[in-house]
Each structure stands twice: as C-alpha cells, then as structure tokens.
C-alpha cells in the first residue's frame, strides 16, 4: 500500500511537470493536423456535477457531429476540459492552463455563476471571446465586451425573470391579493426572489411572507407551515434540488393548496426529480427553459434529444435532457456559426460577429444584447399537468409540462389551485 502511494505520487508529480498533456476528449483527433481546440472547466464532481455532466455530454454530441461534418473551418474539433470539482478556487488555475499551456483556440465557461465568475478575470486578461453557460448577471460587474451568456434570463433579471409567473397569476379565477416568497441563500435564487418581490409590488400584491433559508436546512415543515399560516394567494419559491424536494414534500404533507405554488424552483426540471415526485408535481407552476411542447419544437432539438437520451444512462447524467443540454448544444452552435461567418479564429472578430448577428439554434433564434445576454429574455413558466406516476416517458411528449408563459409559446391553460386534483 505504502509503496504504491509513493509511486503514484511520483507519477503525478511527473504529470505536473509535463503539464501540456491534456485530458482531451477525443484522443483520435489529438493526432490529426491542427484541430480547433475548445477548452473549458466543467463540474464533473461536486455539487453542480449533475448539470455539469449533462453539459459535457451535449458538447460531446455536438463535437462528434461537427467532426462528422468535416469539422469547423475545415479543422477537426477537439474538446480540452478539466473537472473543476465545483470548487471556484480551482477555476483560475484551470483557465490559465487552458490558455497558456494547452493554448486552446477558444474557451467556453464552466457551468453556472459561481464557477463562471472566477474564470472571468483570467479570460479578460487575454482578451478571449467567451461564451458562457447559465450565468446570472456575471457581466454586470465585469462589463467585458467579449462576453456572451447562453441563458434565457436576459439583461434585466429583476424586471423580467418572474414576470411570466405573475402574468399567469393575474389570470387566476379570483384575482390574487397576497404573495409569499421563500428563497435559498444563493445568488440565482436570490435574484429570482428579488424579481418576484418587484412584480408583486408592481401589481399591488401584499407580500405576507418573505424569507430566505440556508442550504443546510433539513426540515421544511415549519417553514412551509409559516407560509401556510400567512395565507398567501401566490407562493413564489426559489430553491435548489435537495431543498425543492423537501419543500414539495412538506407542502404535500401539510395539504397546502394555495391558488398558485411554484416559482423558480430548480429540481422539477430534472428527470430524477420527476421520477421521484410523480403526481405531487401536479399543478406546480415553475420556471423552466425548455419543454417538448409544439410551440418549442425548434428544428434539430428532437434529433439532439434522441441522441442525448441514448447515451445519458451510460454517462450517468439526467435521463431526459430537457433542462441544460439543449442550451449547451446551442452554445456550441453559436461558436460554430460565428466561426463560419468570421472564417478564422480571431477573438475580436468573433466578438464583433456575436454582437451583430442573429443565431439560429436548436433552442430557437436569438440575438445577444450589448452586455452579452440574450436580447429578448425567454423565461418559461410551465405547469405540470396530468401526472399520474413517476414514469418518465410522458416528459418526452407534449402535454405534461404545459407552457403558460410567455404568451407567444403558450401551449395550454392554467389549472388552479395547486395540489393533486380533488384535494
């Protein structure tokens, strides 16, 4: 045992010294002439690994397709990536390595704000064009003009994020008069709650409960009961997966059936969650980014999801791929389309092109704003309908996650109150 450790140790030290040897995805291409190397850190372990692994799978599907088409700009595509372990402290080092040692042609972001932010200073230092995935307002501080974010939240999260939810609330049979807001202590949920607060106030709803909770909360019963006793008409919750399940459980146990329940919960978008909760999800109205409704059947998305689903089980990622994966794929399409237009790897020209052009991807057509966010935000609010069990097949078809907002993608009608039918 002992000697093994020492030998390993030597090997790793050697690994560090050689350094340049990349943990690349496609060793086959590593040999071929002058590939376009796309580098990124991704959460393959740690708290964000669920979405991180799904993202990586989407990238790999894109890279395989691109290479089958003969590559980008006639060069094969190679992904160079490292696991950031969901540890922000590792991110600056990884990006310096990508740019200075591996000398990748393009860098893209790790998954989500907390990991993107520490990569920004390093990327800015080298003036690289940077397409990020699901950041939340990172560029508000850095104001980097070569930053582009693949996220439907757009520029002004405060005013746009929860708008759809409250638009739907306005259509309740009895107009709502009060709202409750509960959000986990993290940046995305807090921004969501801020938006909910803004819209509640704007529409003259009385906010009867407004609190945060720490991610380590074990029992949500007292919290949900406190909300229940405040008798709100509309409940807006910003939560993350482990807590989302605790909150839904508590609400179901306490038979809490307000006219509208949901908001910005992260978790109900994911397959494992849908399998576990089954009918408890009925009539939940929740923020989402994609639903296989006819209104969102963009060209290519069905093909992509089919490919994704055949590989998902093997890769231990989300089985359905309804959340991040289409956007991760589209993120790569953005790069591909921009590279095709510019015709060479030129960071300044790429950034200029991204500012100027419209992109047509498997998640639809969009443009970037001056700050690099989606110019037109597209926060979906979907309602779970007709859920009888935890079987996942129905989530591949229309009619289960019905889109209520925005108006142009609407695919069904609001059902109220929250809770299982007949409760």
């Amino acid at each position: 045992m002992h000697s093994t450790t020492r030998r390993d140790l030597g090997r790793f030290a050697l690994g560090a010294a050689v350094g340049g040897a990349a943990a690349g995805a496609f060793p086959a291409f590593a040999q071929s002439a002058n590939p376009i190397r796309i580098g990124f850190a991704m959460a393959l372990s740690g708290g964000l690994a669920g979405n991180g692994r799904a993202t990586l799978l989407a990238y790999q599907i894109w890279a395989a397709e691109a290479n089958a088409r003969g590559g980008v700009l006639g060069r094969p595509v190679q992904l160079v990536f490292y696991d950031d372990q969901t540890t922000p402290g590792l991110v600056p080092g990884i990006y310096t390595k990508l740019m200075d040692v591996d000398r990748v042609d393009i860098v893209t972001s790790p998954y989500a704000t907390a990991m993107i932010a520490p990569s920004m200073p390093v990327v800015m230092q080298r003036n690289m064009c940077f397409v990020t995935l699901f950041g939340a307002g990172v560029n508000e501080v850095f104001k980097y003009d070569r930053h582009f974010n693949m996220n439907i939240t757009g520029d002004n999260m405060k005013e746009t994020y929860a708008k759809g939810y409250f638009d739907v609330a306005a259509k309740l049979p009895t107009p709502p008069r009060s709202a409750a807001i509960l959000a986990v202590d993290n940046e995305f949920a807090q921004k969501a709650a801020e938006s909910a607060r803004f819209h509640a106030r704007q529409r003259g709803l009385r906010v009867v409960y407004d609190r945060s909770y720490p991610p380590s909360t074990v029992d949500f019963t007292p919290t949900v009961r406190a909300i229940q006793s405040a008798r709100p008409d509309v409940v807006f919750i910003g939560s993350y997966p482990p807590d989302s399940s605790g909150i839904l459980r508590a609400a179901s146990e306490l038979r809490f059936n307000p006219p509208m329940f949901g908001g910005g919960m992260v978790g109900p978008q994911l397959a494992a969650f849908q399998a576990q909760f089954g009918p408890i999800l009925n009539n939940l109205i929740n923020w989402d980014v994609y639903s296989p409704e006819p209104t969102m059947n963009f060209p290519g998305v069905a093909d992509f999801q089919e490919k994704y689903r055949t590989q998902a089980a093997k890769e231990q990622t989300d089985l359905l791929g309804n959340y991040i994966p289409p956007y991760a794929y589209a993120q790569m399409q953005v790069l591909e389309q921009s590279l095709a237009r510019v015709g060479r790897v030129d960071q300044a020209a790429l950034a200029a092109d991204m500012h100027a052009s419209e992109f047509d991807t498997i998640v639809g057509k969009f443009r970037f704003s001056a700050s690099g966010e989606w110019a037109e935000p597209r926060n979906l609010f979907v309602q779970f309908q007709n859920v009888r069990d935890g079987d996942l097949e129905k989530y591949k078809r229309p009619g289960t996650k019905v889109i209520l907002a925005p108006e142009n993608l609407k695919s069904g009608e609001l059902r109220a109150p929250y809770g299982p039918p007949g409760a």
Partner: protein
Amino acid sequence: MDPDLQLLLNGVVSGLLLGGLYAFAASGLAMSFGMLDIVNIAHPALMIAGAFSVVVVGTALGLDPLLVAVLQAPLFYVLGIGIYSVYHHFFERRGEEALQGLAFFFGIMFIIEVGLVMAFGPEQRFLDPPYAFVTLRLGEIDVPLRMLVPMLLAAAVLGLLLLWLRSSFTGLAIGAVAQDAEALRLMAIDPVRIKRLAFGLSVALAALAGGALVVVQPVEPTSGQIFIGRVFAICIMGGMASLPGCIAAALLFGVVENVTATFAGPSWSPAVAFGWLLLMLAVRPQGLFGKAA
C-alpha cells in the same frame, strides 16, 4: 385556536420529530465519542453510507427501507469492529489518538463521501415507502408518517439499547469503560474487547439512522455534512456519556431549530442552534444534563 399558538404547537411537534432523527443520528456518537472517548467524526458519513446501502438494496429487492436498515445493521456492526481494530492498532495503542486518530477519522469521512460520489454520482437518491406520503392529522397538529415512522424505529432501538446498557453485564461494562478502564481490568474484562463491541454498535446505530434518513428525505453523498455539526453539538449538550441526556438534547435541538425557523425565519436557525452550543461550551461545558465537575 390562536394562529400563533397553533404555529408554535406545530413547530414544537415537528421539532420533536426532527429531534428524534437527530437523536438517532447522535446516539451512536454518544457511545463512541461520549463513552469510549473516540472522536469519530466519520459518524455522519457512515450514516450516509448506510443510507445509500439501504437505497440500493431496498430498490433492488423492493423492500421497505427501514426493514433493510435493520437487516443490514449486523454488517455495519462488523464494519465498525473492523474500523475500531484499525484505530486501536495504529492509534489508541500508541497513545496517538488525539491528533492522528482524529485525522484518521477525518480521512475515513472523506473516503466515504468521495467514494459514494464516485460510485453513485453526486445526485440525490431516494426510496420512498408508500407511507411516506401519508399525514396524520390530530386536531390542529399534522404528523407526517414520513417523520413519525422512523421516529418509532428510533424509539424502539434506543429504548432497547438503553435497557441493555443498564441491565446486561456487557452493557454495564460499556458504561464502566468510560469511567475507568483499570477497574475493568481488575474485573478480568478486556477493555479493548468491550470498546470494540461498543464501537461496532455505534456504527450499526449510524447505519440504522441512515435508514431512517432515507424515509425522511432523499440523500446525497455529502448529506453527512449537514449533520456533523449538529450531532456533535447534541452530544456535548447531552453531557457526552449519557444516552438519555443525548436524546433529550436532540429533541431540544430539533425544537429550537424548528421554532426558530417558524418565527424568525429559517436562515437563522443554524446560527441560533450553533450559537447556543458555543455559549454552552463557554459557560457549561459539562452539558445541559452533565454533572458539574
């Protein structure tokens, strides 16, 4: 009923139920840490390992999680004996338990956590028995079976344990080993054997608590981190070597946490609970129920 009173009452009841889970989780620690003086910080991680094993086995065989937890407890008992043997061989015997022994358990904790991530991925796992979705309603008070059933198991296990500790020869010897290992030697009992047995039991308790946790909520490989501070806090508040003290402290802890969450908002409940512990360490280190030194 006055709505505030109703909230308070429900907060207390749900706090007691939560406290029951804490008591289950902390009782094993009260044995290892309190009675045997083994600072097993891997205890919550072992509990999560037990929980994962319950999920895997229970899903594969279609069995109730609590049943699986009880059935697999002997395996964890054996695991505990193994861990103690290593600990004793390398640390206790050498008199290096303070620093190196602590680091050993720290490493074990880490190995279990990361091992679970590698084996099962970082996502949460669940195994819901049918009763997990049923709630009893007693007047104005809600009692979800999801919380109640594991607590009944906890009460049964802890009751038996307490009875055994107080009446059987070996149980009394475990109580004595904390006080005076020399006395045991005079009674011709090998303290190491007693400690090995007691540590095995503490790990089995951890795994049983893990089974209870599966019913209460989905588990992730890192779920143990939520419990580590709490179980140690409870152990200290309970006066270390006292199982009844530990149970009482756990119930109190659950109530304080949930009543704080109800009235002051959930974001303050950990700070209130742990601030309480810090204060306690400062003014009454022998614990709420411990005897004055």
